[in-house]
């Protein structure tokens, strides 16, 4: 019990701030400084707002990933949940005014359906999350290929989709950022103030203890996966609105960054620990990293290698902290 003293010794603000979150924010500042050496544009407000807009797509998707990771599970179906959300919302737009009006909720609903299948597989059929989410990802991909015939779909995004992705409700603050703020505020509220949030952390720490405490662990699992699928699809809807249409494999580039952002933000990959603030930091960090790597003209392949290495390094730093304090 030697850590009693260290737990009490830290006081004030340091007790409340996770060292991982602080490190992530520190890295953000460091990246901006490094970038500003390269080009003074890096510290301009315009550039920063643009980055925030790009980050908000990843932020929405990472929110779902975080929820599932907090449970000690993983959702690898994000790529095609994103693409499904994008394609289905665009597809709905082709069905007259009703279709246009329901395009966004329909896209999100399709993503939730994928999530519910994941959740049922994990919670009731006891299939490892890694397997079932990979499988639903493949099935979603297959269904979308059948729907589009393998070509780029011709459906256009609706006005509403474009508006929430690229419009400005508040001058100079992109709407996508507002969407992320709303999603993030919801996540913070649900995680910290509701029985659902407590149950998520509880299950992530010890599913056995949570079950024996009378938590309906299976319902929580299904719910969390459904939310994760829905948020991925919402990310897809935003992306479709951003580029006016859906595209094959448009979600593939978001899986690794989403998980990396969550882990970089100090959420334990084993579940049970992590704060949404950390995920925000992780998302911004990843987005800046991407931006700087592309400014430095490092090709996509090189970026993937660097993400991978960054994740491993962060896991070494934070993933090994003993789970039982």
């Amino acid at each position: 019990m030697s850590d009693i003293s260290s737990g009490r010794g830290r006081n004030g603000i340091w007790k409340r701030i996770d060292p991982a979150v602080a490190t992530a924010f520190g890295c953000i500042v460091l990246l901006l400084l490094v970038g500003s050496l390269y080009s003074s544009n890096f510290l301009h407000l315009e550039y920063l707002l643009l980055q925030l807009k790009v980050a908000s797509f990843l932020g929405v998707i990472a929110t779902g990933a975080m929820l599932v990771i907090l449970l000690g599970q993983i959702d690898l179906s994000a790529p095609w949940a994103i693409t499904t959300g994008a394609m289905m919302s665009c597809a709905a737009a082709a069905y007259g005014p009703t279709g246009v009006a329901l395009a966004i909720p329909f896209g999100i609903l399709c993503g939730m359906a994928i999530g519910i299948v994941n959740g049922i597989g994990v919670a009731y059929l006891r299939i490892p999350a890694m397997i079932i989410t990979l499988a639903t990802n493949a099935v979603a991909q297959g269904l979308m290929v059948v729907y589009t015939g393998g070509f780029s779909p011709q459906d256009e995004a609706t006005e509403a989709m474009r508006y929430i992705a690229t419009g400005f409700l508040i001058p100079s603050v992109p709407n996508a950022v507002l969407v992320w703020i709303v999603v993030g505020a919801g996540a913070v509220f649900f995680l910290s103030r509701t029985t659902f949030g407590r149950a998520v952390y509880g299950i992530g720490n010890s599913e056995r203890a949570a079950y024996l405490s009378g938590i309906d662990t299976r319902r929580i699992l299904v719910l969390a996966f459904a939310v994760s699928g829905g948020l991925s699809a919402l990310g897809g809807v935003l992306l479709a609105g951003y580029s006016s249409k859906a595209a094959q494999s448009m979600g593939d580039v978001y899986l690794l960054p989403a998980i990396a952002a969550v882990v970089l933000g100090g959420t334990s990959i084993l579940g049970g620990r992590g704060s949404y603030l950390g995920t925000v930091a992780g998302v911004i960090l990843i987005t800046l990293l991407q931006s700087i790597l592309s400014v430095m003209q490092i090709p996509e392949a090189g970026r993937q290698v660097i993400y991978g290495i960054v994740i491993v390094v962060m896991l070494l730093l934070y993933g090994r902290a003993p789970a039982s304090r």
Partner: protein, 513 residues
């Protein structure tokens, strides 16, 4: 034989786990060509003794000699190399590998860096023959063998390491009488071959049949060593109990709550092979203990009542109404009002990295939340009430539960369930590994809860607790209730005799004489 130099000696060996002294200056002398029986109550230090001998844990102090030379084992492999092999209570075989693979698993014969399968098979055959199980095919898969045969493979595996000392820890607890007699024949032959055998068992008659010398452990020390057959069962039980007994228990209710109707009643409860035909009832205000040796179905009974086990047969009545409890969520609801203090507080009771507050309110979240949103003020006031009621010592409600002492952690587990104001409280060995002061507080709390009208079912591995706390004790043996003791009838003699399934008559005679 006793004149010869001992094969193995252990002197002044001590081992502490946290604040608990598991072994206290223990001595043990083992001679070649003898079967040495080890006896003792739950927690007397037998397991620690074996773990030290077989290199699983290192002693804090003391010395061990093998053939007169001082030894110390850094790992089980080192103990193996020195010639000490151990067969533990739980089987250590890999079910999906063949018998031969299992027998040589720790050190397979190699040829050019690959496993030499021919030689492996030869080793396995020889070991099986020595273990008296030549009829087991070395290439059979372990999962296809019945339990008794697996135990034979386990012995063959130990013998393949050519041990000079073979330790058997409750090795027969899973076997039927017929299988046991086969294994005994093998053990006796190994004794003829000059091995030293250490035989740990709760079954007195097995020790009586097998052992040449017996050592009794109590509270971490060896209290007596005697030639087998020189002491009666009763004298042995006396040795195991000892006379260190301090009264730390609150007074029981003067009149047992016999007028109250039963709050919970079980009729012919059964589950797989673990629970057999269990019927009993508990009234409001009663503390009913579950006694018996470790692992006779007490834990399963509590889990079955709490709705955790699937496929439980029989009937449970709550206040006279039959109910089917499908899980903890239903059990904790107001309809039933049950609470279970689980066995392992670190993995089942608490969420160690989470805060004291989160832990305390975790089982009662629905009661402090409206439409799923937690009312923080209500939560705080309930938590403060519990911290006061149980006098939990914590530096605040925001620190992780894992930072508290064992006793305070256990108080949190109990408190989190009291937040639901349960009327039926099941406790699974709640005082294990916590300090005496906290134990005492828990005893008083139980009494108080009972006085307030709760029905309490209390499993303990500590006989003193059962005697001091319980109005009645149900002694379990082999998945069934062997005896019910009540009032002044709850004595150590009665508890141990029925736990060991020894005839009470012979015990009573011995006590009378």
């Amino acid at each position: 034989m006793h004149g010869a130099n001992p094969l193995f000696r252990m002197e002044g060996v001590s081992k502490r786990y946290g604040g608990v002294r598991a072994l206290d200056h223990a001595e043990l002398t083992v001679h070649a060509g003898q079967i040495h029986g080890i006896l003792g109550e739950n927690g007397a230090g037998k397991s620690t003794l074996i773990k030290i001998m077989s290199g699983v844990v290192a002693p804090d102090e003391g010395r061990m000699t093998l053939d007169g030379k001082e030894v110390s084992f850094a790992s089980p492999a080192a103990a193996n190399d020195a010639g000490i092999a151990c067969i533990f209570q739980e089987l250590s075989l890999v079910p999906h590998l063949s018998v031969a693979d299992n027998i040589v698993i720790s050190n397979p014969p190699k040829r050019f860096g690959m496993i030499d399968r021919k030689k492996q098979r030869a080793i396995a055959e020889e070991a099986l023959a020595r273990a008296g199980a030549a009829d087991i095919h070395p290439l059979a898969l372990v999962r296809d063998l019945p339990l008794s045969r697996r135990q034979m493979v386990e012995i063959a595996k130990a013998l393949a390491r050519k041990p000079r000392i073979l330790i058997l820890d409750e090795a027969t607890s899973a076997l039927t009488a017929a299988d046991v007699s086969k294994i005994f024949a093998v053990l006796k032959r190994l004794r003829e071959e000059g091995l030293a055998l250490l035989y740990i068992s709760h079954r007195m008659h097995e020790i009586a049949e097998l052992a040449d010398v017996c050592t009794v452990f109590r509270n971490g020390s060896n209290v007596a060593t005697y030639e087998a057959g020189t002491k009666s069962d009763n004298e042995v039980v006396e040795l195991m109990i000892g006379r260190e007994y301090t009264n730390v228990f609150p007074p029981k209710a003067p009149v047992a709550a016999s007028d109250n109707p039963p709050v919970i009643e079980c009729r012919r409860l059964s589950w797989a092979d673990q629970l057999k035909d269990i019927s009993f009832s508990v009234r409001a205000g009663e503390v009913v203990g579950l006694g018996g040796l470790d692992g006779q179905g007490q834990r399963d009974l509590l889990l079955a009542l709490f709705g955790v086990l699937r496929g439980v047969g029989g009937e449970v009545l709550i206040e006279g109404k039959p109910v089917r409890i499908r899980g903890p969520r239903q059990a904790k609801g107001d309809e039933i009002g049950m609470a279970l203090i689980p066995e392992d507080r670190k993995t089942e009771g608490l969420l160690l990295p989470m805060s004291v507050r989160d832990n305390l309110s975790f089982a009662a979240l629905d009661r402090v939340a409206r439409a799923g949103v937690i009312d923080r003020a209500a939560e705080r006031s309930r938590i403060d009430e519990m911290i006061r009621l149980l006098a939990i010592k914590t530096a605040g409600t925001d620190i992780p539960a894992g930072a508290l002492s064992g006793g305070n952690q256990q108080k949190i587990v109990i408190a989190k369930w009291l937040m639901n104001r349960p009327r039926i409280i099941l406790l699974n060995d709640p005082t294990r590994g916590i300090d005496v002061g906290t134990k005492q507080e828990i005893y008083q709390l139980l009494r108080k809860l009972a006085a307030d009208g709760a029905a309490i079912i209390f499993y303990s591995t500590d006989y003193d607790e059962l005697i001091g706390c319980c109005d009645r004790v149900l002694v379990m043996y082999d998945g069934g209730i062997r005896r019910e003791l009540a009032g002044d009838g709850i004595t150590e003699h009665a508890l141990i005799a029925s736990a060991l399934n020894v005839e009470e008559d012979s015990m009573a005679e011995a006590v009378g004489a």
